[in-house]
Symmetry: C2
Subunit: 424 residues, 2 copies
């Protein structure tokens, strides 16, 4: 481990030269302080200093992307953008995700020499694979548990997100399970609220899951949102597993990557990882980090399923970005860590085609809330429309064409295709 | 608890009307989805829906602050800014910090109806105080343990941040302790690295702390950076406490607010909370959150000390913002939660005056790395210069004037006062 290094690529914007910005970054995140101190010897710097691997100039701009930037004397008014690759000795922090974060994504964002800083890539040495076993289920385990092969796992989200009684929840689950959905999840807004404690939810839901399984011979996967304080995670997980549940869900940014990794130490069922709050870290183009980086942290920490938004979603993210996210999750990490990307938000049968065309995989979960529940002929038709949408997608047949002979898809297009130009 | 509510204030920017934006926010974060679903009844909405409390218009702008915004048909080209206050029924998530975060700071940042969203204030009901006991030490406990009254706790950071051998670290600690510093902390880059395992650091440091205490009669407070995975937190904490250590430090964003709260369940010494990575969540003016909000979460979770940057620091943040942060930490929360703000980064004797003038309190920690270690007459003079800087500040005497009769301060001004216009 002694000579392994972590490499980070930053998109930088600075009124200084890119070389100067690179030096500031490397100094701040390893041996430096604002003034030279005794002890920062040449040999210490060589052994522990961050190294600038490369500096690639991109465009210039006249306005700084972020506030509070200091400019050099005689500043020419230009803010230079570029990609700066820095490598850190693993020795400085070891294969520890929490300490890695402080090293590669700590104080840097606040440096006044930078008017923009975004962590766009991160290469980790094998030591991280040894320290973090990652998903226990992933794509294969999820397919095994759901019995779904050759197409995405089709799922839905309990809606309304909050407020359903146990009776209402139970009958909704029953309806969805009988309708043939593979997967159901709680909303991220609904974990263990006072009006519907998790233990009651688990009881109500699992009773219906089992009843439906007796009827259909297929057991729906239900992701119980167990998000809570660290001590609750274990209790909540055990509650689900003891009741025969086969999936738990957490809001990653609410429990931290460290919380996710902690859960993964003892979890016995797939962890469905929701990234709500992620927008805060990524929507400003010259700040925060790319999903490429974030997904690596989440996969190491044990996310079996990881949310990536959806094409044509209700969110700001471009379809290109969503496609990159799906592909990033499907890219082997240390030869494995096969996390299943979860395509969600504003999804319905009509978004299957573009998703497959762009992302080129069926190894994903495709979730529709309203897109299934609000199908004009009911949830069973909603599920059927999703399956038909994917059949068409894999056959490379346009949804409208496939819909001529496939009624559920046709009715979905009639209902949702007109909504603010949503894709069909 | 059944009728308590959480109130969040958002700074919003939108191409729609502010009223429309408020509806989207309230709907997304409570009962809504992209299309009406069965079950979202009027009574459910009334009981569980988020309520728009007020909408206050601010300025308009011609360019959206964030990308990916959808504009309404016939958009007039204006993006409206305003403050939107929304209240959420506590019933929806209960007094749970992780689930609170998903509710008030979850998917909102990604909504395409918004070109900017920043959580600027958060009012929490008493139920949170019952669920989260907060700091066990805070200002009073830290003063009691350090024996420092009537002025800030003066501290330093081990520099170079990384790379010191146990012998070098030990002798630095000895030098600093004998120099009369009240507090020493590890750098956030240095927790439990392979080249300097925490157990060795604790041993080396505590031996010197005890030796110095025998000589001076005062025991320096040393904040050991115990940041690590969740299971390590407890082990690391216990290691420190068993060796007689009197403070532990964590990087909040590396372990999550949930990790901090978990540590606070069993911690026996003050928790020194470092906010590195915070810039990612706050530097874009129309994204993320204000420190006002963040500090409430951290205080509830148990931060005894909380970093706030420093005036005249090396970071982008304005002095006004730093002052607001110090004041926010000193503002009672549920009548208590007396967290000590930690003023740090680019600090030295000359920043005491402006800090006291602006923040109006000595209930803080004032940390200087290079500002003490690189004092021309050595660390003892560095510490003395800090004390003299604060004496001058409290007496409302200019540092330069006080320096005429106070040599350590004078030498500090000579050395650091010229550095890129740093304040004296």
């Amino acid at each position: 481990m002694l000579d392994e290094r972590v490499t980070a690529v930053y998109l930088v914007e600075t009124p200084y030269t890119l070389e100067r910005a690179a030096e500031v970054i490397a100094g701040e995140q390893s041996t430096g302080t604002f003034t030279a101190v005794p002890g920062e010897t040449a040999s210490l710097k060589e052994r522990h200093g961050a190294a600038i691997v490369s500096v690639e100039a991109l465009e210039e701009t006249d306005t700084p992307s972020l506030p509070g930037t200091k400019v050099p004397r005689g500043h020419d008014g230009k803010y230079r953008r570029g990609l700066i690759k820095v490598s850190y000795p693993l020795l400085n922090f070891g294969p520890s995700l929490p300490n890695l974060m402080s090293a590669v994504a700590g104080n840097l964002f606040e440096l006044q020499e930078l008017s923009g800083l975004r962590l766009v890539d991160l290469e980790l040495p094998e030591a991280f694979a040894a320290a973090y076993p990652g998903p226990k289920f992933g794509v294969e385990g999820t397919r095994r548990l759901t019995g779904v092969y050759g197409r995405p796992v089709i799922g839905t989200i309990v809606k309304p997100s909050v407020g359903l009684s146990m009776e209402q929840l139970g009958s909704l689950v029953r309806e969805m399970a009988l309708a043939g959905v593979d997967f159901i999840k709680d909303d991220e807004l609904n974990a263990n609220p006072p009006y519907a404690p998790l233990k009651d939810k688990v009881k109500a839901v699992m009773a219906e899951v089992e009843r439906a399984a007796d009827e259909t011979g297929r057991r729906v996967m239900y992701a119980f949102n167990i998000t809570g304080d660290i001590d609750e995670l274990r209790r909540n997980h055990d509650l689900v597993v003891e009741a025969g549940g086969n999936c738990v869900m957490v809001s990653i940014n609410s429990i931290g990557v460290a919380g996710l990794s902690w859960l993964n130490r003892y979890s016995q069922v797939p962890i469905h990882a929701h990234r709500n709050g992620w927008g805060m870290m990524t929507r400003s183009p010259l700040l925060g980090m790319e999903f490429t980086v974030y997904q690596k942290l989440c996969r190491l920490a044990g996310a079996d399923h990881l949310h990536v938004n959806g094409l044509g979603s209700k969110f700001y993210e471009s379809d290109e970005s969503v496609v990159r996210s799906i592909r990033a999750c499907r890219q082997p990490l240390f030869g494995g860590y096969g996390t299943m990307p979860v395509v969600s938000s504003g999804q319905w049968a009509g978004t299957a085609g573009i998703t497959y065309e762009q992302a080129g995989t069926t190894d994903l979960m495709h979730l529709a809330g309203g897109g299934i529940l609000a199908h004009p002929d009911g949830p069973a038709a909603g599920v059927e429309s999703m399956k038909q949408g994917w059949e068409a997608a894999v056959k490379a047949v346009a949804a409208e064409e496939y819909a001529v002979t496939h009624g559920a898809l046709r009715r979905a297009i009639e209902r949702f295709g007109a909504v603010e130009g949503r894709r069909a």
